[in-house]
Symmetry: C2
Subunit: 448 residues, 2 copies
């Protein structure tokens, strides 16, 4: 199935009706996160590059038309108005890696109404889950306070596409490596990982397993020490590391994957040091997330590398974001919805930022307030990407700078205070005007 066929049916039924009515003027849709989940003080944007790739490749061909016709139980001729549609609109977006707050447009699509509508499902999907994963990953990096964090999430993410996105989210936010080979190749990341418990068990004695591994992989090695009894596993690893030549001993590590990781790490450190192996590092894994990392760091556990997996790869405490892709203008007319608890602000917008994260959501046409810079930048014009895709290193540096500029209360691992943007007077005035217009024109009986 093509990406274009992966759409909610209603995008298709709406597009057909728009075309039938001749409603193909430019429409602007805002994509934003309504409210941050609990335990999030900020968000890190991700998914924009996948969206740009999708939009600039978007084309409805006969395969898509056949698919639409079959589920609508209509002859393909009825779907022909859609045949050959490409994305010929404009996109402005907050660059990946940038910090954003609730209510701020992350991406704004302006295209002929049927086209801007048709691309909704994919665009929402990618920005929503990739931003959720990056926002979780950024908190792990904060918690680790400079220690390397690596991604071990592949085995339990929601599919292998999600695993690739989890590895990339980690890379954007400052992880140092991933266990996912495909992601490492594609993103040019270091790949990490050595052995599972099954490896030890297949050999039986730990010493035989460790020795065979070192034979097969000259250079630094990481030994998994908790298959049978951790303290003895550490001793066995230490003795073998001593016997390997210097080139192997330095850069090598042991990995702890169970038990009380703080106690096990302290015990392991003592044993390694007693064997004259102060350079051998301790990697911990097993159910880690930013909360567990924070506990270990605050306890002063002698951990060198944090390997995070499932809880981070699915953003377990906030597995989705409350995103919306909302029509804010059609033709010359700003629009909004008034649904209970889901009111949207009308009109194309810009977000202006100054002093770290003092943000103002304003109308796109407003001038930047003194000392502020706009967050939304053009990334697609008339269906074509503007400039080359930013490199991962660049995105990563942007993320690090933005996170560093956040106030402490938003960066806190436990109980962060989400930052809030303000709304410009002109946007507030337009919102009031559109609300009054809707009331007067469409709701004569209602009191709003």
């Amino acid at each position: 199935m093509s990406r274009e066929t992966t759409t909610d049916l209603y995008e298709v039924t709406m597009a057909l009706s728009y075309l039938r009515e001749g409603m193909a003027q430019p429409a602007t849709f805002d994509l934003f996160v309504r409210d941050l989940p609990p335990e999030r003080g900020f968000l890190v944007v991700a998914g924009v590059e996948h969206v740009v790739d999708y939009l600039t490749d978007y084309r409805l061909g006969s395969e898509q038309i056949q698919g639409f016709a079959s589920v609508l139980h209509r002859p393909p001729e009825d779907l022909e108005p859609l045949l050959g549609i490409t994305f010929d609109g404009d996109v402005r977006a907050v660059p990946e890696g940038r910090v954003v707050l609730g209510g701020e447009p992350v991406l704004e699509v302006t295209a002929p109404l049927p086209v801007a509508q048709l691309v909704e499902s994919y665009v929402l999907n990618q920005i929503s889950h990739q931003t959720a994963l990056a926002s979780k990953a950024a908190r792990c990096v904060l918690a680790a306070e400079g220690h390397p964090v690596v991604d071990f999430s592949l085995r339990r993410t929601h599919g292998i596409e999600a695993a690739a996105h989890a590895a990339r989210a980690g890379a954007i936010t400052g992880f140092s490596a991933t266990s996912n080979v495909a992601a490492a190749v594609e993103l040019g990341l270091p790949a990490v990982g050595t052995m599972a418990h099954s490896y030890i068990e297949a050999f039986g004695p730990e010493e035989a397993a460790f020795r065979a591994f070192a034979d097969a992989h000259p250079g630094p090695v990481t030994f998994l020490v908790d298959t049978y009894q951790t303290e003895q596993g550490v001793r066995t690893a230490a003795q073998l590391l001593r016997s390997l030549d210097d080139a192997t001993g330095s850069g090598s590590a042991i990995r702890l994957d169970s038990g009380n990781l703080e106690e096990e790490a302290r015990r392991a450190r003592s044993i390694l040091d007693a064997h004259g192996l102060p350079e051998v590092r301790i990697v911990v894994s097993g159910g880690l997330d930013e909360y567990a990392i924070d506990d270990l760091v605050r306890a002063g556990a002698p951990v060198d590398v944090y390997a995070v997996g499932t809880r981070v790869g699915v953003s377990a405490d906030a597995p989705y974001l409350d995103t919306a892709y909302k029509l804010v203008a059609y033709g010359d007319r700003p629009v909004m919805k008034l649904s209970t608890g889901k009111v949207t602000a009308p009109g194309p917008k810009q977000v202006f930022r100054r002093n770290g994260c003092e943000d103002v959501v304003a109308l796109a046409e407003e001038a930047a307030p003194a000392g502020s810079r706009p967050l939304l930048h053009p990334v697609v014009r008339k269906g074509t990407r503007i400039g080359p895709a930013p490199g991962l290193q660049h995105i990563r540096e942007r993320c690090a700078a933005d996170v560093a500029a956040l106030p402490e209360e938003a960066r806190r691992v436990t109980g962060p205070t989400p930052l809030h943007s303000s709304t410009s007077p002109r946007l507030r005035a337009l919102t009031d005007r559109v609300r009054r217009h809707i009331r007067d024109a469409y709701l004569p009986d209602a009191s709003l």
Copy 2:
């Protein structure tokens, strides 16, 4: 990137070492869920068919070898022992749609050790997240007590692969349709969906929007009524439905997506009935999951169709399962690990079930206890699929029967009691024997 390259690096480093050591005897790995998450009384198996497709297609070619070599910073020649590897082993699995409990093997792979190891990451990924999604979806169907449940999750799942799996998980567990066109086409499901708030806003007045939609889509229609003010939206929809010919009015519906859904549904039902439209159905959506459905059903809200989205498509309250893929035998030797809190039982296994869900985990070689039937069935032999893939309808019927046979305490939406399987005396004896052997042979210093 190929699916074979989407692997944890350690599968590759271990496989290389196994081959170097000549350790290619048959190994058996058990895939199981250690403990159920809170709020789950049972699990529904899903993902097996994707795993069978993966394994029967598995092949390491030069693309994979290049990828592995590049991340290992080794010349491709070093990786040549892996070139041409296919999955030539056997798989037994619990069929999709079947209910399973914590600790029961869902899938058992027996293959030459390097091969059985190499496929771990993908196999775990697919069974873990698809079983998580199906187990969540099954609870929605239970909560709805016979009312149709439909899948609207595409926009916020963890990627579009995850969306396809969410749609399929719904189909397995009894959902009646999906909004995801690609999934509907691929699975032969009904596709559903009509209009978004943006559609109404693009027109301005609701009446114009509803009329245009009915013009474009003859036959039953669903009108979204909460864009501006729900009560008035329902009236506008009702008046228009009255004016459409009978063929359109019957089978039509209104959709409520915000506010207090119980109150809104009651109000809408009154308005529709007062307009002589008792056949027009009420669809609700917006943040629904099994808990919200249960509340509405218990309150007697006049809801006809429940459309579930994000919370179900990401299994928000339990977004992952505590799965493991553990070596249980190598050659003739049963093995296990003793890591704190993660002890595994050795040996190839079978699960015997009788009287609904009275399960015994036993050794594969044991005879079935009287009146019980085995859950694990051969699905792959020597790398080839055994028999055709089961049809979706068949899987769905199996799921419905299994869920219906569960005791009430496991089926409960709130506070379910997870069922537990027992262990056969022979499996317990083997576990003790292997544990003693490990202690005697590998842990002379330890007291276990």
